[in-house]
Protein backbone atom coordinates (compact mmCIF):
# COMPACT_ATOMS: atom_id res chain seq x y z
CA UNK A 1 0.00 0.00 0.00
CA UNK A 2 2.76 2.47 0.87
CA UNK A 3 4.15 2.11 -2.66
CA UNK A 4 1.16 4.12 -3.78
CA UNK A 5 1.00 6.67 -0.95
CA UNK A 6 4.72 7.45 -0.99
CA UNK A 7 4.94 7.77 -4.76
CA UNK A 8 1.61 9.28 -5.52
CA UNK A 9 3.03 12.01 -7.77
CA UNK A 10 5.02 9.48 -9.79
CA UNK A 11 1.97 7.30 -10.32
CA UNK A 12 -0.11 10.38 -11.04
CA UNK A 13 2.36 11.53 -13.68
CA UNK A 14 2.32 8.08 -15.26
CA UNK A 15 -1.46 7.89 -15.25
CA UNK A 16 -1.70 11.38 -16.75
CA UNK A 17 0.74 10.30 -19.50
CA UNK A 18 -1.41 7.28 -20.31
CA UNK A 19 -4.58 9.40 -20.34
CA UNK A 20 -2.92 11.97 -22.61
CA UNK A 21 -1.65 9.31 -25.01
CA UNK A 22 -5.08 7.68 -25.11
CA UNK A 23 -7.01 10.90 -25.71
CA UNK A 24 -4.65 12.44 -28.28
CA UNK A 25 -4.03 9.22 -30.21
CA UNK A 26 -7.73 8.40 -29.96
CA UNK A 27 -8.70 11.77 -31.47
CA UNK A 28 -6.16 11.30 -34.26
CA UNK A 29 -7.33 7.74 -34.91
CA UNK A 30 -10.99 8.79 -35.06
CA UNK A 31 -10.30 11.65 -37.49
CA UNK A 32 -8.03 9.63 -39.78
CA UNK A 33 -10.14 6.48 -39.49
CA UNK A 34 -13.38 8.22 -40.55
CA UNK A 35 -11.56 9.97 -43.41
CA UNK A 36 -10.05 6.70 -44.67
CA UNK A 37 -13.44 4.97 -44.33
CA UNK A 38 -14.83 7.75 -46.55
CA UNK A 39 -12.03 7.05 -49.04
CA UNK A 40 -12.84 3.35 -49.02
CA UNK A 41 -16.47 3.84 -50.04
CA UNK A 42 -15.87 6.75 -52.43
CA UNK A 43 -16.58 6.55 -56.17
CA UNK A 44 -12.95 7.43 -57.02
CA UNK A 45 -10.92 4.28 -57.48
CA UNK A 46 -7.55 5.85 -56.61
CA UNK A 47 -8.91 6.88 -53.20
CA UNK A 48 -10.37 3.40 -52.61
CA UNK A 49 -7.05 1.77 -53.44
CA UNK A 50 -5.20 4.15 -51.13
CA UNK A 51 -7.66 3.46 -48.29
CA UNK A 52 -7.40 -0.30 -48.73
CA UNK A 53 -3.60 -0.17 -48.79
CA UNK A 54 -3.52 2.02 -45.64
CA UNK A 55 -5.75 -0.37 -43.72
CA UNK A 56 -4.10 -3.58 -44.95
CA UNK A 57 -0.57 -2.44 -44.17
CA UNK A 58 -1.32 -0.95 -40.75
CA UNK A 59 -3.51 -3.82 -39.60
CA UNK A 60 -0.77 -6.31 -40.38
CA UNK A 61 2.11 -4.36 -38.84
CA UNK A 62 3.11 -5.25 -35.27
CA UNK A 63 2.68 -2.12 -33.15
CA UNK A 64 6.14 -2.60 -31.61
CA UNK A 65 7.64 -2.53 -35.11
CA UNK A 66 5.68 0.65 -35.89
CA UNK A 67 7.02 2.26 -32.68
CA UNK A 68 10.53 1.13 -33.60
CA UNK A 69 10.19 2.59 -37.11
CA UNK A 70 8.62 5.88 -35.99
CA UNK A 71 10.49 6.61 -32.75
CA UNK A 72 13.92 5.31 -33.69
CA UNK A 73 13.75 5.40 -37.50
CA UNK A 74 12.30 8.84 -38.23
CA UNK A 75 14.99 10.78 -36.30
CA UNK A 76 17.59 9.21 -38.64
CA UNK A 77 15.51 10.72 -41.38
CA UNK A 78 16.02 14.23 -40.08
CA UNK A 79 12.56 14.41 -38.44
CA UNK A 80 13.07 15.36 -34.81
CA UNK A 81 9.98 15.70 -32.60
CA UNK A 82 9.33 15.02 -28.92
CA UNK A 83 8.90 11.28 -28.25
CA UNK A 84 5.39 11.96 -27.00
CA UNK A 85 4.35 13.31 -30.42
CA UNK A 86 5.96 10.35 -32.17
CA UNK A 87 4.12 7.96 -29.86
CA UNK A 88 0.79 9.69 -30.55
CA UNK A 89 1.44 9.46 -34.30
CA UNK A 90 2.33 5.76 -34.17
CA UNK A 91 -0.59 4.82 -31.91
CA UNK A 92 -3.03 7.01 -33.84
CA UNK A 93 -2.03 5.68 -37.25
CA UNK A 94 -2.20 2.07 -36.06
CA UNK A 95 -5.60 2.48 -34.41
CA UNK A 96 -7.01 4.46 -37.36
CA UNK A 97 -6.97 1.27 -39.45
CA UNK A 98 -9.24 -0.47 -36.92
CA UNK A 99 -11.49 2.59 -36.57
CA UNK A 100 -11.81 2.70 -40.37
CA UNK A 101 -12.96 -0.93 -40.50
CA UNK A 102 -15.48 -0.33 -37.71
CA UNK A 103 -16.88 2.75 -39.48
CA UNK A 104 -17.05 0.94 -42.81
CA UNK A 105 -18.95 -1.93 -41.20
CA UNK A 106 -21.27 0.70 -39.66
CA UNK A 107 -21.88 2.35 -43.05
CA UNK A 108 -23.00 -1.04 -44.35
CA UNK A 109 -25.59 -1.38 -41.58
CA UNK A 110 -27.45 1.77 -42.72
CA UNK A 111 -30.43 0.66 -44.83
CA UNK A 112 -29.92 1.08 -48.58
CA UNK A 113 -33.04 3.22 -48.86
CA UNK A 114 -31.37 6.01 -46.86
CA UNK A 115 -28.57 6.47 -49.38
CA UNK A 116 -31.02 6.12 -52.27
CA UNK A 117 -33.38 8.70 -50.78
CA UNK A 118 -30.49 11.13 -50.25
CA UNK A 119 -29.39 10.69 -53.85
CA UNK A 120 -32.89 11.16 -55.18
CA UNK A 121 -32.95 14.49 -53.35
CA UNK A 122 -29.97 15.44 -55.46
CA UNK A 123 -27.33 15.16 -52.76
CA UNK A 124 -23.74 14.60 -53.80
CA UNK A 125 -21.59 11.75 -52.48
CA UNK A 126 -20.04 13.88 -49.72
CA UNK A 127 -23.44 15.21 -48.68
CA UNK A 128 -25.00 11.74 -48.69
CA UNK A 129 -22.17 10.36 -46.61
CA UNK A 130 -21.74 13.18 -44.08
CA UNK A 131 -25.36 14.33 -43.68
CA UNK A 132 -27.35 11.12 -44.04
CA UNK A 133 -25.33 7.92 -43.77
CA UNK A 134 -22.59 8.67 -41.22
CA UNK A 135 -24.88 10.16 -38.54
CA UNK A 136 -26.99 7.01 -38.70
CA UNK A 137 -23.95 4.75 -38.87
CA UNK A 138 -22.54 6.45 -35.74
CA UNK A 139 -25.15 4.72 -33.61
CA UNK A 140 -24.18 1.20 -34.54
CA UNK A 141 -20.48 2.09 -34.61
CA UNK A 142 -20.25 3.23 -30.98
CA UNK A 143 -19.65 -0.20 -29.34
CA UNK A 144 -16.87 -1.35 -31.73
CA UNK A 145 -15.19 2.09 -31.56
CA UNK A 146 -15.36 1.86 -27.79
CA UNK A 147 -13.55 -1.47 -27.70
CA UNK A 148 -11.01 -0.15 -30.24
CA UNK A 149 -10.23 2.84 -28.01
CA UNK A 150 -9.96 0.59 -24.95
CA UNK A 151 -7.47 -1.51 -26.90
CA UNK A 152 -5.65 1.74 -27.73
CA UNK A 153 -5.38 2.60 -24.03
CA UNK A 154 -3.90 -0.84 -23.37
CA UNK A 155 -1.55 -0.58 -26.35
CA UNK A 156 -0.22 2.75 -25.09
CA UNK A 157 1.77 0.70 -22.54
CA UNK A 158 4.29 0.04 -25.32
CA UNK A 159 5.18 3.75 -25.39
CA UNK A 160 6.63 3.45 -21.88
CA UNK A 161 9.42 1.25 -23.22
CA UNK A 162 10.31 3.99 -25.71
CA UNK A 163 11.03 6.64 -23.03
CA UNK A 164 7.59 8.27 -23.02
CA UNK A 165 6.16 9.09 -19.59
CA UNK A 166 3.28 6.71 -18.99
CA UNK A 167 1.95 4.32 -16.41
CA UNK A 168 3.83 1.08 -17.11
CA UNK A 169 7.13 2.99 -17.29
CA UNK A 170 6.80 3.94 -13.59
CA UNK A 171 7.83 0.42 -12.56
CA UNK A 172 11.47 1.23 -13.36
CA UNK A 173 12.16 4.08 -10.89
CA UNK A 174 10.07 2.29 -8.24
CA UNK A 175 12.03 -0.90 -8.78
CA UNK A 176 15.28 1.01 -8.32
CA UNK A 177 13.95 2.56 -5.10
CA UNK A 178 13.51 -0.96 -3.80
CA UNK A 179 9.75 -1.17 -3.48
CA UNK A 180 7.92 -4.48 -3.64
CA UNK A 181 7.59 -5.35 -7.32
CA UNK A 182 4.31 -7.18 -6.93
CA UNK A 183 2.61 -4.17 -5.29
CA UNK A 184 4.13 -1.81 -7.84
CA UNK A 185 2.46 -3.85 -10.57
CA UNK A 186 -0.81 -4.14 -8.68
CA UNK A 187 -1.14 -0.34 -8.64
CA UNK A 188 -0.09 -0.09 -12.28
CA UNK A 189 -2.82 -2.62 -13.12
CA UNK A 190 -5.34 -0.62 -11.09
CA UNK A 191 -4.33 2.50 -13.03
CA UNK A 192 -4.99 0.80 -16.36
CA UNK A 193 -8.30 -0.54 -15.09
CA UNK A 194 -9.31 3.02 -14.11
CA UNK A 195 -8.58 4.24 -17.65
CA UNK A 196 -10.23 1.32 -19.48
CA UNK A 197 -13.25 1.14 -17.20
CA UNK A 198 -13.92 4.88 -17.47
CA UNK A 199 -13.66 4.62 -21.26
CA UNK A 200 -16.08 1.69 -21.18
CA UNK A 201 -18.41 3.75 -18.96
CA UNK A 202 -18.33 6.74 -21.31
CA UNK A 203 -19.12 4.56 -24.30
CA UNK A 204 -21.91 2.73 -22.48
CA UNK A 205 -23.41 6.14 -21.72
CA UNK A 206 -23.01 7.26 -25.35
CA UNK A 207 -24.64 4.07 -26.54
CA UNK A 208 -27.60 4.61 -24.25
CA UNK A 209 -27.97 8.20 -25.43
CA UNK A 210 -27.47 7.67 -29.15
CA UNK A 211 -28.00 3.99 -29.82
CA UNK A 212 -31.30 2.81 -31.25
CA UNK A 213 -32.72 -0.68 -31.43
CA UNK A 214 -32.98 -1.58 -35.08
Amino acid sequence: MNVLTQNFSLYGKGLWGTVQLTLLAGALALAVGVLIAGFRVSPVKALRVFGTAWVTVLRNTPLTLLFFAVLLGLPRFGVVLPFMVFAVLALGAYTSAFVCEAVRAGINTVPLGQGEAARSLGMSFTQTLSLVVLPQAARSVIPPIGSTLIALAKNSAIAGSFSVDELLGTYKPLNELGYSIVWTFVWIAVGYLIVTLSLAGVFALLERKLGVAR
Binding site: V44, R59, N60, F68, A157, Y171, F185
Partner: protein
Protein backbone atom coordinates in the same frame (compact mmCIF):
# COMPACT_ATOMS: atom_id res chain seq x y z
CA UNK B 1 -19.60 -2.95 -53.38
CA UNK B 2 -23.37 -3.54 -53.49
CA UNK B 3 -24.17 -1.73 -50.26
CA UNK B 4 -21.84 1.23 -50.56
CA UNK B 5 -22.71 1.89 -54.20
CA UNK B 6 -26.01 3.21 -52.81
CA UNK B 7 -23.94 6.21 -51.77
CA UNK B 8 -23.51 7.54 -55.31
CA UNK B 9 -25.18 7.28 -58.69
CA UNK B 10 -23.68 5.43 -61.59
CA UNK B 11 -21.54 8.28 -62.93
CA UNK B 12 -22.53 9.93 -66.19
CA UNK B 13 -20.00 11.44 -68.63
CA UNK B 14 -19.48 14.63 -66.62
CA UNK B 15 -19.21 12.87 -63.27
CA UNK B 16 -16.79 10.39 -64.85
CA UNK B 17 -14.60 13.24 -66.03
CA UNK B 18 -14.70 14.76 -62.54
CA UNK B 19 -13.83 11.43 -60.93
CA UNK B 20 -10.96 11.05 -63.35
CA UNK B 21 -9.71 14.48 -62.29
CA UNK B 22 -9.92 13.49 -58.60
CA UNK B 23 -8.10 10.25 -59.39
CA UNK B 24 -5.34 12.23 -61.10
CA UNK B 25 -5.06 14.64 -58.18
CA UNK B 26 -4.89 11.74 -55.69
CA UNK B 27 -2.27 9.94 -57.73
CA UNK B 28 -0.26 13.14 -58.15
CA UNK B 29 -0.32 13.88 -54.42
CA UNK B 30 0.70 10.32 -53.60
CA UNK B 31 3.42 10.34 -56.25
CA UNK B 32 4.75 13.63 -54.83
CA UNK B 33 4.72 12.14 -51.34
CA UNK B 34 6.60 9.02 -52.47
CA UNK B 35 9.05 11.18 -54.41
CA UNK B 36 9.64 13.33 -51.32
CA UNK B 37 10.23 10.24 -49.15
CA UNK B 38 12.64 8.76 -51.69
CA UNK B 39 14.42 12.13 -51.96
CA UNK B 40 14.69 12.26 -48.17
CA UNK B 41 16.00 8.68 -48.09
CA UNK B 42 18.67 9.46 -50.66
CA UNK B 43 19.40 12.85 -49.12
CA UNK B 44 20.05 11.40 -45.66
CA UNK B 45 22.17 8.65 -47.21
CA UNK B 46 19.92 5.70 -46.37
CA UNK B 47 20.93 3.89 -49.56
CA UNK B 48 24.66 4.28 -48.92
CA UNK B 49 26.64 1.08 -49.32
CA UNK B 50 27.91 1.14 -45.74
CA UNK B 51 24.37 0.89 -44.36
CA UNK B 52 23.37 -1.99 -46.61
CA UNK B 53 26.63 -3.92 -46.51
CA UNK B 54 25.82 -5.76 -43.25
CA UNK B 55 22.98 -7.62 -45.00
CA UNK B 56 25.52 -9.29 -47.28
CA UNK B 57 27.42 -10.75 -44.33
CA UNK B 58 26.62 -14.35 -43.57
CA UNK B 59 26.74 -13.80 -39.81
CA UNK B 60 24.15 -11.02 -40.02
CA UNK B 61 21.92 -13.09 -42.26
CA UNK B 62 22.16 -15.93 -39.79
CA UNK B 63 21.33 -13.51 -36.93
CA UNK B 64 18.19 -12.36 -38.77
CA UNK B 65 17.14 -15.92 -39.56
CA UNK B 66 17.70 -16.95 -35.96
CA UNK B 67 15.53 -14.02 -34.86
CA UNK B 68 12.82 -15.07 -37.30
CA UNK B 69 13.03 -18.65 -36.04
CA UNK B 70 12.69 -17.42 -32.45
CA UNK B 71 9.66 -15.32 -33.41
CA UNK B 72 8.04 -18.36 -35.02
CA UNK B 73 8.94 -20.55 -32.05
CA UNK B 74 7.30 -18.16 -29.58
CA UNK B 75 4.30 -17.88 -31.92
CA UNK B 76 3.96 -21.66 -32.30
CA UNK B 77 4.05 -22.40 -28.58
CA UNK B 78 1.81 -19.45 -27.73
CA UNK B 79 -0.73 -20.44 -30.42
CA UNK B 80 -0.85 -24.04 -29.20
CA UNK B 81 -1.12 -23.07 -25.53
CA UNK B 82 -3.76 -20.37 -26.25
CA UNK B 83 -5.94 -22.90 -28.07
CA UNK B 84 -5.77 -25.28 -25.09
CA UNK B 85 -6.39 -22.41 -22.64
CA UNK B 86 -9.28 -21.21 -24.77
CA UNK B 87 -10.92 -24.63 -24.96
CA UNK B 88 -10.58 -25.21 -21.21
CA UNK B 89 -11.99 -21.82 -20.20
CA UNK B 90 -14.72 -21.83 -22.86
CA UNK B 91 -15.83 -25.20 -21.46
CA UNK B 92 -15.68 -23.63 -17.99
CA UNK B 93 -17.85 -20.69 -19.03
CA UNK B 94 -20.39 -23.01 -20.68
CA UNK B 95 -20.42 -25.33 -17.68
CA UNK B 96 -23.61 -26.12 -15.76
CA UNK B 97 -21.81 -25.69 -12.44
CA UNK B 98 -22.09 -22.16 -11.19
CA UNK B 99 -18.74 -22.05 -9.36
CA UNK B 100 -16.82 -23.23 -12.44
CA UNK B 101 -18.68 -20.74 -14.60
CA UNK B 102 -17.96 -17.79 -12.32
CA UNK B 103 -14.31 -18.71 -11.87
CA UNK B 104 -13.77 -19.05 -15.63
CA UNK B 105 -15.59 -15.79 -16.31
CA UNK B 106 -13.43 -14.00 -13.76
CA UNK B 107 -10.18 -15.34 -15.24
CA UNK B 108 -11.18 -14.63 -18.84
CA UNK B 109 -12.46 -11.13 -18.14
CA UNK B 110 -9.41 -10.21 -16.05
CA UNK B 111 -6.85 -11.27 -18.63
CA UNK B 112 -8.78 -9.58 -21.42
CA UNK B 113 -8.88 -6.32 -19.48
CA UNK B 114 -5.16 -6.20 -18.59
CA UNK B 115 -2.73 -4.75 -21.12
CA UNK B 116 -0.72 -7.67 -22.51
CA UNK B 117 2.56 -5.83 -21.96
CA UNK B 118 1.84 -5.30 -18.26
CA UNK B 119 1.34 -9.06 -17.86
CA UNK B 120 4.51 -9.86 -19.80
CA UNK B 121 6.53 -7.36 -17.73
CA UNK B 122 5.05 -8.71 -14.53
CA UNK B 123 5.96 -12.30 -15.42
CA UNK B 124 9.41 -11.26 -16.62
CA UNK B 125 10.36 -8.90 -13.77
CA UNK B 126 8.40 -10.02 -10.73
CA UNK B 127 8.39 -13.78 -11.36
CA UNK B 128 11.88 -13.58 -12.94
CA UNK B 129 11.13 -16.07 -15.70
CA UNK B 130 13.13 -16.55 -18.86
CA UNK B 131 12.08 -14.01 -21.60
CA UNK B 132 10.77 -16.71 -23.95
CA UNK B 133 8.67 -18.24 -21.19
CA UNK B 134 7.39 -14.85 -20.06
CA UNK B 135 6.40 -14.00 -23.63
CA UNK B 136 4.66 -17.34 -24.21
CA UNK B 137 2.75 -17.21 -20.91
CA UNK B 138 1.69 -13.60 -21.46
CA UNK B 139 0.51 -14.29 -25.01
CA UNK B 140 -1.29 -17.44 -23.85
CA UNK B 141 -3.17 -15.70 -21.04
CA UNK B 142 -4.35 -12.87 -23.29
CA UNK B 143 -5.01 -14.69 -26.57
CA UNK B 144 -6.34 -17.75 -24.75
CA UNK B 145 -8.90 -15.55 -22.99
CA UNK B 146 -10.01 -13.96 -26.26
CA UNK B 147 -10.18 -17.41 -27.88
CA UNK B 148 -12.28 -18.68 -24.97
CA UNK B 149 -14.78 -15.94 -25.83
CA UNK B 150 -14.62 -16.88 -29.51
CA UNK B 151 -15.28 -20.57 -28.73
CA UNK B 152 -18.11 -19.71 -26.40
CA UNK B 153 -19.72 -17.41 -28.96
CA UNK B 154 -19.26 -20.14 -31.57
CA UNK B 155 -20.99 -22.83 -29.53
CA UNK B 156 -23.81 -20.42 -28.66
CA UNK B 157 -24.21 -19.50 -32.35
CA UNK B 158 -25.07 -23.05 -33.40
CA UNK B 159 -28.87 -23.05 -34.02
CA UNK B 160 -30.79 -24.14 -30.94
CA UNK B 161 -32.55 -26.98 -32.74
CA UNK B 162 -29.26 -28.84 -33.05
CA UNK B 163 -28.80 -29.03 -29.30
CA UNK B 164 -32.44 -29.86 -28.69
CA UNK B 165 -32.43 -32.59 -31.34
CA UNK B 166 -29.30 -34.12 -29.82
CA UNK B 167 -30.85 -34.15 -26.34
CA UNK B 168 -34.03 -35.63 -27.80
CA UNK B 169 -31.96 -38.50 -29.19
CA UNK B 170 -30.90 -39.25 -25.62
CA UNK B 171 -27.34 -37.93 -25.84
CA UNK B 172 -25.61 -36.85 -22.66
CA UNK B 173 -24.29 -33.33 -22.01
CA UNK B 174 -20.73 -34.21 -23.05
CA UNK B 175 -21.90 -36.09 -26.13
CA UNK B 176 -24.07 -33.17 -27.27
CA UNK B 177 -21.04 -30.91 -26.93
CA UNK B 178 -18.44 -33.13 -28.59
CA UNK B 179 -20.50 -34.77 -31.32
CA UNK B 180 -22.96 -32.04 -32.26
CA UNK B 181 -22.09 -28.52 -31.12
CA UNK B 182 -18.28 -28.33 -31.24
CA UNK B 183 -17.85 -29.77 -34.77
CA UNK B 184 -20.25 -27.19 -36.20
CA UNK B 185 -18.93 -24.34 -34.07
CA UNK B 186 -15.31 -25.14 -34.91
CA UNK B 187 -15.99 -24.85 -38.65
CA UNK B 188 -17.78 -21.54 -38.24
CA UNK B 189 -15.17 -20.16 -35.85
CA UNK B 190 -12.04 -21.23 -37.73
CA UNK B 191 -11.64 -17.87 -39.52
CA UNK B 192 -12.01 -15.95 -36.24
CA UNK B 193 -9.49 -18.26 -34.58
CA UNK B 194 -6.97 -17.61 -37.34
CA UNK B 195 -7.57 -13.83 -37.07
CA UNK B 196 -6.74 -14.06 -33.38
CA UNK B 197 -3.57 -15.99 -34.25
CA UNK B 198 -2.58 -13.04 -36.45
CA UNK B 199 -2.88 -10.87 -33.34
CA UNK B 200 -0.69 -13.36 -31.45
CA UNK B 201 1.90 -13.32 -34.23
CA UNK B 202 1.99 -9.52 -34.19
CA UNK B 203 2.31 -9.48 -30.42
CA UNK B 204 5.34 -11.78 -30.40
CA UNK B 205 7.23 -8.58 -31.27
CA UNK B 206 6.58 -7.43 -27.68
CA UNK B 207 9.36 -9.89 -26.84
CA UNK B 208 11.71 -7.21 -28.14
CA UNK B 209 10.88 -5.09 -25.09
CA UNK B 210 11.93 -7.85 -22.65
CA UNK B 211 15.12 -8.63 -24.58
CA UNK B 212 13.85 -11.87 -26.08
CA UNK B 213 16.03 -12.40 -29.14
CA UNK B 214 13.27 -12.41 -31.72
CA UNK B 215 13.18 -10.91 -35.21
CA UNK B 216 12.83 -7.24 -34.24
CA UNK B 217 15.53 -7.65 -31.57
CA UNK B 218 17.94 -9.02 -34.20
CA UNK B 219 17.07 -5.98 -36.28
CA UNK B 220 17.85 -3.68 -33.36
CA UNK B 221 21.25 -5.33 -32.83
CA UNK B 222 22.14 -4.51 -36.44
CA UNK B 223 20.56 -1.04 -36.36
CA UNK B 224 22.49 0.13 -33.31
CA UNK B 225 25.86 -0.89 -34.73
CA UNK B 226 28.10 2.12 -35.30
CA UNK B 227 30.30 0.18 -37.75
CA UNK B 228 27.39 0.09 -40.19
CA UNK B 229 26.54 3.78 -39.57
CA UNK B 230 23.34 3.03 -37.56
CA UNK B 231 21.21 1.53 -40.38
CA UNK B 232 17.79 1.97 -38.68
CA UNK B 233 15.87 2.70 -41.88
CA UNK B 234 17.43 -0.14 -43.92
CA UNK B 235 16.65 -2.54 -41.06
CA UNK B 236 13.01 -1.40 -41.00
CA UNK B 237 12.90 -1.76 -44.79
CA UNK B 238 14.07 -5.35 -44.49
CA UNK B 239 12.10 -6.43 -41.43
CA UNK B 240 8.73 -4.75 -42.01
CA UNK B 241 7.88 -6.56 -45.28
CA UNK B 242 8.62 -9.93 -43.66
CA UNK B 243 6.35 -9.22 -40.67
CA UNK B 244 3.58 -7.70 -42.81
CA UNK B 245 3.88 -10.56 -45.32
CA UNK B 246 3.54 -13.25 -42.63
CA UNK B 247 0.51 -11.54 -41.06
CA UNK B 248 -1.13 -10.90 -44.43
CA UNK B 249 -0.69 -14.53 -45.39
CA UNK B 250 -2.49 -15.62 -42.22
CA UNK B 251 -5.26 -12.98 -42.60
CA UNK B 252 -5.71 -13.97 -46.22
CA UNK B 253 -6.10 -17.64 -45.32
CA UNK B 254 -8.67 -16.67 -42.66
CA UNK B 255 -10.71 -14.76 -45.26
CA UNK B 256 -10.40 -17.61 -47.75
CA UNK B 257 -11.62 -20.17 -45.21
CA UNK B 258 -14.46 -17.83 -44.20
CA UNK B 259 -15.58 -17.59 -47.85
CA UNK B 260 -15.35 -21.34 -48.23
CA UNK B 261 -17.24 -22.09 -45.01
CA UNK B 262 -20.00 -19.63 -45.85
CA UNK B 263 -20.78 -21.69 -48.94
CA UNK B 264 -20.44 -25.02 -47.14
CA UNK B 265 -23.68 -26.82 -46.20
CA UNK B 266 -22.02 -28.07 -43.02
CA UNK B 267 -22.17 -24.67 -41.35
CA UNK B 268 -25.67 -23.83 -42.55
CA UNK B 269 -27.46 -21.66 -40.03
CA UNK B 270 -24.30 -20.83 -38.04
CA UNK B 271 -22.81 -17.43 -38.73
CA UNK B 272 -19.27 -17.55 -40.13
CA UNK B 273 -17.20 -14.53 -39.17
CA UNK B 274 -13.66 -13.27 -38.94
CA UNK B 275 -14.77 -10.63 -36.44
CA UNK B 276 -13.52 -10.94 -32.88
CA UNK B 277 -14.60 -9.53 -29.52
CA UNK B 278 -11.68 -7.07 -29.66
CA UNK B 279 -9.31 -7.59 -32.50
CA UNK B 280 -6.21 -5.48 -31.94
Amino acid sequence: MTASSALYDIPGPRALARHRLYAWITSAVLALLVAFVVYKLVDTGQFSAVKWRPFTYEGIQRLLLKGLANTLRAFGWAALASLVFGVVFAAGRLSDHRVLRWASTLVVEFFRAMPLLVMIFFIFIALKLDPLLALIIGLTLYNGSVLAEVFRAGVNAVPRGQREAAYALGMRKTQVMTYVLVPQAARAMLPAIISQLVVALKDTSLGYLITYQEFLYSGKLIATNLDYDLPFIPVVMVIAPVYIGMCMLLSWSANRIARHERRSPRTKGTEVTTQLPDEI
